[in-house]
Symmetry: C2
């Protein structure tokens, strides 16, 4: 059994800080669960175009408010606590935060650890661990 | 892109109620994400011996307080918001809730939909969907 604590993980390389967001990766590829699990903070006002070409992702909103736009269809959905979205078709999307949002994110395949978005809005399949 | 809302899902067969807990399954096998994602409520006072022999599971505490006991080693860990545990070795365990707890759970392989624990504390690999 693995037991980890967000407050402790925030003081390690599990916490990755980027432009408009930060993410603390509580489970990674090395844990051999078949997915990775992250608690991600989207900063208030962030406007993040993303396109995970190499990963499927689900995102559950724990707190905060914003919108998710599906760039394949133009549809927009409000995000608030209790809303989940899943990028089951590697959908191009834009996540916008009205207030700071806390999200529980699952990636398949699992991240290695140090991934940040490349210029296309994707994570690479290979990256340094923690 | 799939978008689902906990409040709406709670009014469907995605919400499964059992003894000491209930779970609303926002992503399932049919969604083809390679994992399932559930928001699970453990009722205050529940004392739940479990043994997922067919699944790996991670559990992240969103709210509430309790303990997780690893029955393989006897170790106990406090559960509070920000704590995650992962049953990476199909570990036999007991989850106890001091107060009502809300947990974000990920299963690999994904659940079908209507699973409840069998007498050994496991979920079967096959079950009815939603």
């Amino acid at each position: 059994m693995i037991v980890r604590n967000l407050a402790e993980a925030n003081r390690t390389r599990r916490r990755v800080v980027s432009k408009g967001w930060e993410s603390t990766r509580l489970l990674l590829k090395e844990d051999q669960m078949g997915f990775s699990f992250h608690i991600t903070t989207i900063y208030a006002g962030a406007d993040l175009p993303m396109h995970y070409q190499n990963h499927l992702e689900s995102v559950y909103c724990i707190s905060g408010a914003g919108t998710i736009e599906n760039r394949e269809t133009g549809e927009k959905h409000p995000i608030h606590p209790g809303v989940m979205y899943a990028l089951d078709k590697n959908d191009r999307h834009i996540l916008r935060a009205e207030t700071e949002m806390k999200m529980a994110c699952v990636f398949n395949p699992p991240l290695n650890g140090q991934e940040v978005h490349d210029e296309s809005g994707a994570y690479p399949l290979e990256a340094e661990g923690v």
